[in-house]
Each structure stands twice: as structure tokens, then as C-alpha cells.
Symmetry: C2
Subunit: 251 residues, 2 copies
């Protein structure tokens, strides 16, 4: 929104800011006279995810950086999908854009060549020197995904991973989830502890068990378990074991 304001008028059609972004807004109106409607499919910081998308009367532009290739989507519903590689596709340093032909070339604005999708398409995505390594590793990752059965298969795995982890959060009296149950992310599982004084010792236990990067974003606090495609369910069980062990010790 901050950046879009440099180039036009921005209207916020829905937000859950008032509750620190703990749910995905629903039943909002998309202005039919706007140029496009922008949505982010998964919120890595607060751990919410759109489990379905609205019907949009105007082109829907979606930032899928953090959940692309993690679940089936109907690509045709979107005017434009964009995603940084670094969650489920490959190393940081390359970006994927899927765009409908019919929304190309509609901006009257002079656009620098590097940011002009038409120029990139005409250049076969090689208008500039491409970041070969990031693209190459993305190909390897997508081959790996295919060999596992593709997006449909990984979606089932991701649902299973999320289910067991949220299950423990809901069962274990020391922990609680931070988001509306129906909007819980299958990629980033955010949770806090009923007793904030437990957070430091639990973080220490995680560290001892080789669980890293579990600390929540500073704007939410608590914990965030990122369970992207690359993380096997066995790693989720390591975290669940730590939660159960901590509960046993602190009953």
C-alpha cells in the first residue's frame, strides 16, 4: 500500500488491523471501477492464510510469495500472481510472475524496461542478465516437487503437518494459537504461551533440540514455526515432542 501510493490512489477494502491481523476479513466489497484488487494469500508474520479467494469484478493481483506451490489454486482466477522464490521454489534472488495476456499493456505510464512485463516477456525473461543460480535451483526444487507427486501431493502433506501441530497447540494447556481457527496458515504456525514467563525456557529447550528460527516476529511475539514444503513432517514431530516434554516438566 505504501509503495502503490506513489503511483495512484489506494483504497483499503478490508483489514483486520484492529485485532493485530489475527483473522482474514470476509464479505467485503471490491470497487468495480478500481484498476485492480490486491491481496496477499498468506501472512508469514501473523500466521493467517486465505483458504479461499473472493470473486473479483476487476483483475485480482496476488502476492503468493509464501504459499505458492504449497496448495492447488485456480490460476485463471487471478489477473496476476507474483512470488519471490525463497519460500517454496528456490533461493532468494529470483521472482516468478504469472500474468494474463488481457491485462498487459493497459498502463498509460512510461515504465522502465526492467519493470515492464511486456519487455520481460519479449526477452524470454532474459532482458537483463538472469540470476542463473537461483533459477537453476528453482528448477531442481520444482523437479523434486514433481517427483513427490506435485502440488496435490505436497498440499496433503502440508495439511497433515499443520493439523498435527495445531492439534498439539490446542491440546497442550501451556500453548495457544494467535489466529482465528478458520484462517490458520498451513505455512507459518504462530503461537504464544499462556504464561509469558514460560517463553524463554521453552525457547532454550527448542535450541537444545536443534529447533531453530522458532522465535516469533517482534510485532507478534511468541513463536512461529515455518513449515514450508521443504520441512518434513518428522521435523514437526520434533517440535511437538519438545512441547509435550515442556508440558510434562511444567505441569
Amino acid at each position: 500500500m505504501k509503495e502503490a501510493k506513489f503511483f495512484g490512489e489506494v483504497q483499503v477494502v478490508a483489514t483486520s488491523k484492529e485485532s493485530n491481523f489475527t483473522y482474514i476479513p470476509k464479505n467485503y466489497e471490491i470497487p468495480p471501477d478500481a484498476a485492480y484488487f490486491h491481496i496477499t494469500s498468506n501472512n508469514t508474520i501473523y500466521g493467517t492464510q486465505s483458504q479461499s479467494f473472493p470473486k473479483s469484478p476487476i483483475p485480482m493481483v496476488c502476492d503468493m510469495s509464501s504459499d505458492i506451490f504449497s496448495r492447488k489454486i485456480n490460476v485463471a482466477d487471478f489477473g496476476l500472481i507474483y512470488a519471490g522464490a525463497q519460500k517454496n521454489m528456490g533461493p532468494a534472488g529470483t521472482t516468478l510472475v504469472i500474468i494474463k495476456d488481457e491485462i498487459l499493456g493497459k498502463s498509460g505510464r512510461k515504465i522502465p524496461a526492467m519493470f515492464n512485463y511486456q519487455v520481460q516477456i519479449e526477452g524470454g525473461s532474459m532482458y537483463n542478465t538472469p540470476p542463473c543460480f537461483a533459477i537453476y535451483v528453482s528448477m531442481l526444487t520444482l523437479n523434486w516437487l514433481k517427483s513427490k507427486g506435485g502440488v496435490a501431493a505436497i498440499e496433503e502433506e502440508n495439511i497433515a503437518k499443520a493439523k498435527v501441530l495445531y492439534g498439539e497447540i490446542d491440546r497442550n494447556p501451556l500453548f495457544k494459537g494467535v489466529c482465528a481457527v478458520e484462517d490458520r496458515s498451513h505455512m507459518n504456525v504462530c503461537f504464544v504461551m499462556e504464561n509469558p514467563e514460560h517463553e524463554k525456557p521453552f525457547l532454550k529447550l527448542c535450541d537444545e533440540k536443534g529447533i531453530i528460527g522458532i522465535k516469533g516476529h517482534r510485532s507478534v511475539g511468541g513463536f512461529r514455526a515455518s513449515i514450508y514444503n521443504a520441512l518434513p513432517i518428522t521435523s514437526v514431530y520434533v517440535l511437538i515432542d519438545a512441547m509435550q516434554e515442556f508440558h510434562e516438566k511444567n505441569k
Copy 2:
């Protein structure tokens, strides 16, 4: 120039376009009332290189993508230096910018955060998710350069490589250089054959000897030997041997 025109008035102060860019213009005037003076230190396509830089009354902005870290420069002479990593620093996908504090924050324009140097500086070059692999390999490459004696040592090597190769081009009657002798690049050595019919068979000989990527850019034709830091002088000798062998066969 094409891109700069989107954002302001562009004045060409010097060009060698009339001779297909075979020399570096000298003795031109830099307008003292312009916002900045832009120069590219090395031309990879035509094989010319600025062996010295003008004194500029306004901030000098230099694209050093293709010769940074290949020779000593006086950084203080430049307001801003920018370079893609992919020639002498590391893999494609990251960029280096050296900027003088005093020229920061002087644009009245609203700049998207990603392109705002002030924002990048404040974020420790991590405003966005950094392309870690490209940065990491750049570090390894710079460590390698240091271990060889740094820029001063590699400059001597680069001069030696260029000297023997241009020496053969000038000595061998089948070949000729395309650029003004004093402006010859130490990174990209461009040459053609006196008899254009020799080019295909020479390319074939190169291929047999494992010399790849020697074909010149389509706008120049002929040959282009890129002899960046990573290329050892022994590889230059392989090319010289091929040139001499071809001469022996075609006397």
C-alpha cells in the same frame, strides 16, 4: 540513456557512435549545471575501456559492471559507482553500489523503497530478503582476490593477459583489432579477421580446442575474448596457440 529519459532531460556530452563505438571520446565538456555525469568504464560489446576518467564538476556516476575489481581506481573521484556482480565479483543476481554520503537524499522525487539508497543503507542492505547465495559467493570471490594480492596484483595479471593477446592480434597478419589502441579493453578483447571467410573455420578450430564463447556480439561480428579476473593467463595462451596454428595452416 533510454531509461534516464523517463525521469529527466538527457544530454549526450560525447559519443563515438559515428565510428561504431571503436574509441573512447576525450576532451568533451561536462555541463556544470547538470545533476550528474554518467559514464561506463568498460564496453563489453565493442571492447573499449576508459583508461582514465575525466575531472567532473558534478557528481560522476559510473557503471563499472564489467571491470570493477580488475584494476585500481580512485573511488573518491566518483559520486556513485554501481556494478552487477556477474563479471568479476560473483554470480549474476546481486549488485554493488558505492555512494558518497553528500549526494544522498538530493532527489525531490518520491522513490519506491526498493530503489531508495537511503532506505537500503538504513536497512543494512537487507531491506528486502537478500539474495544470500550471490552475496556469499561474492564474498568467497573477494577472499580469493585478496589471497592473490588484491586488486593491485590482479591488475598486473590482467595487463599481462591483455598484452600478450593484443600482441598476437597485432603480429598475426590474419587478425586485426577493432578499437583504437589506447582505448583497448583489458577485459574484453574484440578482433576480426582480415579475410571474413576465415572466421567460420577459425571458430571451428576454437571449438575443437575447448575455447567457448569467443564469438563476437552480433553488432560487431568477429571475435570477443573475455578475459575477466577469473580467466588465467594459461587460457589466453590456448587462444594464442589456436591463432598461431590457424596462421600456419593458412599462410
